[in-house]
């Protein structure tokens, strides 16, 4: 089994979880209602914890300690999709991103439960179960607000259209795509994208939201190769502030 291929796969998933986890944590204290404050904070904790577990697997493959990996890399060394680093914006964008991202993520981990790489297959069983709460949360709110008032429908529709090109960047293919599929490590981005489209359609048809024709949308790529928007580095600076001042600090 090609270790570089596995590492590339693990890094991009871990980085997605860490960066979106950090964005979710920015809702702490700012949610439109207390319940949402708690929900986004909990999901942040889940995602950061899941990224830690993935970095731990990477560490066992010879990469640096999880904290070092999380806090000392620069933007160009991160492999998260640009989608996850975009600022939270208003609640409608955060909700749409949460819906589009977590639907992809739960399917990704579902596929990974069948991985020939044992450590990720074991972890995926666990993470998949936890993510059910995330998709349950996203689906509930998208269904409610996607058919509530004229304003809520219009806002979500606008955010959906803005988010989709970035969301498609989640499925940017790896240079090891063929190898990962052939060795049974991961079923591949193409398959993931198909299943994702099916699942989000199932939810969106229950609302007044219109899903634009995906085939006509140009995906925003580059994140997997370390090419990021101007939003990632400030996020990393804030996230790693304490660690950079004193790497031995306990908090």
């Amino acid at each position: 089994m090609n270790e570089s291929a596995i590492k590339e796969l693990l890094y991009k998933i871990a980085d997605d979880q860490l960066i979106l986890g950090h964005r979710n944590s920015e809702w702490t204290g700012f949610g439109p209602l207390l319940e949402e404050d708690i929900a986004f904070s909990s999901m942040a904790q889940d995602k950061v914890g899941q990224s830690y577990a993935l970095y731990t697997i990477l560490h066992s493959l010879g990469e640096q300690e999880p904290d070092t990996v999380a806090f000392t890399r620069n933007a160009s060394q991160f492999h998260n999709a640009i989608f996850t680093e975009l600022p939270n914006g208003e609640y409608d964008f955060s909700l749409i991103r949460h819906f589009l991202y977590d639907t992809a993520e739960i399917i990704r981990f579902d596929m990974l439960t069948l991985s020939s790489f044992q450590p990720i297959a074991e972890l995926a069983v666990k993470v998949r179960a936890e993510l059910r709460y995330h998709t349950l949360h996203a689906n509930t709110w998208v269904k409610q607000l996607g058919s509530a008032t004229e304003e809520s429908v219009a806002r979500l529709q606008q955010s959906l259209e803005y988010a989709l090109p970035y969301a498609l960047g989640l499925f940017e293919e790896s240079p090891y795509e063929k190898e990962l599929i052939e060795t049974g490590v991961f079923g591949g981005e193409k398959l993931l994208k198909e299943k994702w489209l099916e699942r989000i359609t199932e939810i969106l048809v229950q609302t007044q939201l219109q899903l634009p024709d995906i085939k006509l949308i140009e995906p925003v790529l580059g994140g997997r190769a370390g090419k990021h928007s101007e939003h990632l580095q400030p996020l990393l600076d804030e996230m790693s502030e304490v660690f950079r001042i004193d790497p031995t600090a306990e908090w």
Binding site: E35, D46, K126
Partner: protein, 167 residues
């Protein structure tokens, strides 16, 4: 060298000692009853305890790990190794009957028992109230004060309660 029966460690003995280690957030519930101790290996006088977290991101894990080490040290085992793994992932079905009762007494609704029940949203919607036992309740938030708890409201007691989440 042969060991006398007195200084032979047994798994049961270790588990009995570990009963003392409680969930830091739920001080009535031992780690053994919570179901996060997945195995014990004894090699002479050295002990390896295998553990798995309830939720991957559980921030109490390090504390629990240290508590396990401390309790075994206290009982005279110098060489203790705690291994965290996902080989045997935790599910809420791993909570023992004793643990479920302890949760209830503590005022936390135990998770509904049975495999894969969570695929049914109704299970979350109508949690049994730990005070009156009725299921005339509503789900307020699938996320609560800790990763493993959800928030509900009992229409009969007219009070909120928390449930240990099924997973």
């Amino acid at each position: 060298m042969l060991s006398t029966p007195d200084d032979m460690l047994t798994t049961n003995q270790i588990i009995q000692w570990l009963e003392e280690v409680k969930d830091p957030e739920i001080p009535v519930l031992s780690l053994v009853d919570l179901g996060v101790i997945t195995g014990i290996e004894i090699n002479g006088q050295s002990v390896t305890v295998n553990m798995t977290p309830t939720f991957t991101g559980c921030p109490a894990l390090d504390m629990m790990k240290q508590d396990v080490i401390d309790v075994l040290h206290k009982n005279g085992i110098a060489d203790v190794n705690v291994v965290i793994s996902f080989k045997e992932p935790w599910t809420s079905d791993k909570i023992s009957e004793k643990g479920r009762n302890a949760l209830k007494q503590f005022g936390l609704a135990p998770p509904p028992a049975g495999k894969n029940l969570f695929t049914d949203i109704d299970v979350l919607e109508h949690a049994a109230c730990p005070r009156c036992g009725n299921t005339n309740t509503t789900l307020k938030n699938p996320f609560g004060p800790t990763l493993c708890r959800s928030i509900h409201y009992c229409e009969d007691c007219r009070e909120a309660f928390e449930q240990f989440k099924p997973l």
